[in-house]
């Protein structure tokens, strides 16, 4: 059990929970990060932040700040 921001690059995990302020949390869920969804960490931007992720067949970018809100296993 960990959060998305420390998921090793290239590996996949399942979303277990999404936290954060209600508006942000809702948007993360709506973007497809509902519990049970498989998510893959692809890479970090060259300057270290944000992250590029693959979820539900499309690519999504989150700042580390938002990635911390997503618990994965």
């Amino acid at each position: 059990m960990t959060t998305l921001d420390v998921l090793p690059l290239g590996s996949s995990a399942r979303v277990t929970a999404v936290g954060g302020e209600p508006g942000v949390r809702r948007r993360l869920l709506e973007m497809g990060l509902v519990p049970g969804t498989t998510i893959t960490a692809l890479r970090r931007a060259p300057l270290g932040d944000p992250l590029e992720l693959s979820v539900r067949g499309y690519l999504l970018s989150l700042r580390i700040e938002q990635a911390k809100l997503v618990s994965v296993e």
Binding site: P22, R25, R27, D49, E52, G57, Y58, S61, R63
Partner: protein, 689 residues
């Protein structure tokens, strides 16, 4: 038998709205439906574009509304809010659409269907335009439209907009739009997974329920196998987002973009200006010399010129931005630069507006529309004018060349670079401070889709560039035009009386000493060179320049220079520079021409050598030089930091929807510039410079 087929709508359809995720191909479809007959206006009270256009169904003409792209009907930005309000019929300026077209990307079905479920909740007639079916097929994951129509409970029409495929089918299907059942609502009420969702978390239960239903639809309608759009795009990103190659390619693309709007736009801009000036001369050729001719030629045509001069830069920037956006790279540029910009409270998407502002803040500020979060967008708009634009360059060159000419090439280059860096540093500091104020609002999260790469569609790109340019000319242009005429009037009135002019001419005649004749031997190629002007011509030119200078000093602008002299004296500036600063409000480079008139050497912007001489030789009443390197430095810093461009202020007013922010920007930038120049001049004096 699908239950929607026998249905036809009982009321005639007048308005349809396109709703869909960003990057779902909504605008392409809108262009295909309406062609070039689009109208772009503003939704009342917000700076969100309202795009409408006519189309024709078998039943008659209809109006199509292209709503801003949205991921959800629970909005997080002003443009998403407008989309949700129009769809719910909550806006007074837009009727609720009779039929909603859900634009669903076949190559990204799951996430696109979430919005579909929310649209279905509105209980309004709905129809699905399934975009990019060809892309889904080429990825080996074709979508079965008939199966999808059965699952969704509404007609599904595959469309390939840029080829015009499916567009007429879509228009014919509008009458069959249905109100779908909501099978996900029963899913949403059952607990998703006991350990993660509970009854106390209705938001999670709702969204997770929708996705459970969506997963079943996708499984049912999409042929398994193939590759996901993400995995193909990921392979391209492995190169384009690479720590070394990625940044190299980024630097190359951004250099190309900057050089295009900085260098390629230049001849086009001069061309526009010259064309307007030529038209002005043509229009006034029949008029006799005098005030009216001057008003038409310099006021009206000069004002028009000062508006259209921006058009090439705006058009070029938006063509390039359209290419980057359509190809999918624009989101990557934000991804690459976000770390750098988020440190000072900006957004990855602030990069291109700020870069463009080095050419001109006007297209830069307009391009900040791509930033969705109002706070990040406002911060970007507020600091964009700190970037040294191309209009400052002639001023930098004049002052650095005149007063630091004795420095080495490296020294002068370093000074120029320092001016640019000072602007960037000021922007960073102000953005950082702004992000910490309450006015900025809450910090927006960075949740950015990185869309699939694709070839840009020239039609979409060209149309968007045209719409932006047109919007600038019509909406900001009118304010710029009015203010230009006002500035012309300030530099013209009150005019010296005939008697005053006669007295000045007489005084000039008396003081006139012809310049020493040029030694003939100085020009070996005398045969080819132009013959030297006759003493009469030299005298007539000098008289004309002398009278122009006197008239300017006499005008409101000239008096304003005297009026503000006590205020600007602590910065090292005298009243003549005050007049130059007034002129700079029309456009910063006008400072050079205005100083030329003030120093009675003519308003040539091409040959500034006489102006340099006049500035170096000018003396204050106490006999000390007016311009010292310290004064010049103070003036340079003023030009870096001060907000003195009415055109930018007009555009900020338009882009922020009111006078509040442009006025705050105008006052605070000038106060910052004042403080900085005060410290430099007084500090420099104290140190003995």
């Amino acid at each position: 038998m699908p239950h929607f087929l026998p249905q036809t709508l009982s009321v005639p359809v007048r308005t349809i709205a396109l709703a869909g995720n960003p990057n779902a191909g909504k605008t392409s479809l809108f262009n295909a439906l309406t062609g070039l007959r689009q109208k772009v206006a503003n939704y009342a009270g917000v700076t969100v574009d309202k795009k409408t256009g006519p189309a024709r169904t078998p039943a008659g003409p209809i109006t199509v509304i292209d709503l801003p792209g949205t991921y959800s009907l629970e909005p997080v930005s002003p443009d998403e809010r407008v989309a949700a309000e129009v769809l719910r019929g909550q806006r007074t300026d837009t009727p609720a659409p009779d039929v909603i077209i859900a634009v669903i990307d076949a190559s990204n079905l799951a996430r696109n269907l979430l919005l579909f479920t929310q649209l279905a909740d509105l209980h309004r007639p709905l129809i699905v335009a399934l975009t990019m079916p060809d892309v889904a097929t080429s990825l080996g994951r074709p979508v079965d439209p008939a199966a999808l129509a059965r699952d969704l409970g509404v007609p599904v029409v595959p469309v390939v907009s840029y080829r015009g495929q499916g567009v007429s089918e879509l228009l014919s299907a509008i009458d069959r739009a249905g109100i779908p059942a909501q099978p996900w609502s029963s899913v949403a009420q059952t607990p998703v997974a006991a350990d993660t969702a509970d009854a106390a978390d209705p938001v999670l239960a709702d969204i997770a329920g929708r996705y459970q239903w969506i997963d079943r639809v996708v499984e049912h309608c999409v042929q398994p196998g193939g590759v996901s759009s993400a995995s193909v795009t990921d392979r391209v990103d492995a190169v384009l987002m690479h720590p070394v190659f990625g940044l190299g390619i980024f630097a190359a693309i951004m250099t190309g973009l900057f050089l295009t709007i900085f260098i390629v736009a230049d001849p086009l801009m001069s061309g526009c200006e010259n064309a307007v000036a030529w038209l002005g001369a043509l229009a006034t050729s029949g008029l006799s010399e005098g005030l009216f001719k001057d008003l038409i030629e310099r006021g009206v045509f000069g004002g028009v010129g000062s508006v259209v001069v921006f058009a090439p830069q705006i058009a070029l920037l938006f063509i390039l931005l359209g290419l980057l956006e359509d190809s999918g790279y624009l989101a990557r540029a934000a991804f690459l630069m976000d770390r750098l910009l988020s440190r000072v409270g900006l957004h990855g998407k602030s990069f291109i507006p700020l870069l463009s502002s080095f050419a001109c803040a006007i297209p830069g500020i307009m391009s900040a529309r791509s930033i969705q979060s109002p706070r990040d967008r406002l911060a970007t708009i507020l600091v964009a004018p700190f970037m040294s634009c191309s209009a400052r360059l002639p001023v930098y060159l004049l002052l650095v060349g005149t007063f630091f000419g004795h420095w080495s090439q490296w020294g002068r280059g370093g000074l120029m670079l320092g001016l640019y860096v000072l602007g960037i540093a000021a922007a960073a500091a102000i953005a950082w401070l702004f992000s910490r104020t309450r006015a900025a609002g809450p910090s927006a999260p960075f949740i950015l889709e990185l869309p699939r790469y694709q070839w840009p569609k020239p039609g979409n790109v060209g149309l968007q560039a045209w719409q932006y340019t047109r919007a600038f000319l019509v909406r900001a242009g009118t304010i710029i035009f009015a203010l230009s005429i006002l500035l012309w009037a300030a530099a013209t009135f009150p005019r010296p009386t005939e008697a005053e002019t006669a007295a000045r001419t007489a005084a000039f005649e008396q003081a006139w000493t012809p310049p020493a004749p040029q030694p003939a031997a100085a020009e070996p190629a005398a045969g080819k060179a132009e013959p030297p002007p006759s003493p009469e011509t030299i005298k007539a030119t000098a008289l004309e320049q002398h009278l122009a200078g006197e008239a300017l000093a006499h005008s409101a602008a000239g008096r304003f220079g005297h009026l503000v002299e006590p205020l600007i004296a602590p910065l090292g500036f005298d009243w003549k520079m005050g007049v130059g600063l007034v002129g700079a409000f029309a456009a910063r480079e006008v400072f050079v021409a205005t100083m030329g008139i003030v120093y009675r050497v003519g308003d040539s912007e091409d040959d500034t050598a006489p102006l340099s001489d006049a500035m170096t030789q000018d003396r204050r009443p106490d006999g000390s030089p007016t311009w010292t390197p310290l004064v010049a430095l103070s003036m340079l810093v003023w030009f870096v930091l001060a907000m003195q461009c009415i055109s930018t202020t007009a555009v900020v007013r338009r882009e922020t929807g009111g006078w509040t922010w442009p006025l705050i920007q105008l006052v605070s930038m000038n106060l910052i510039a004042y403080a900085a120049c005060l410290v430099i001049y007084q500090g420099g004096r104290a140190l003995g410079f």
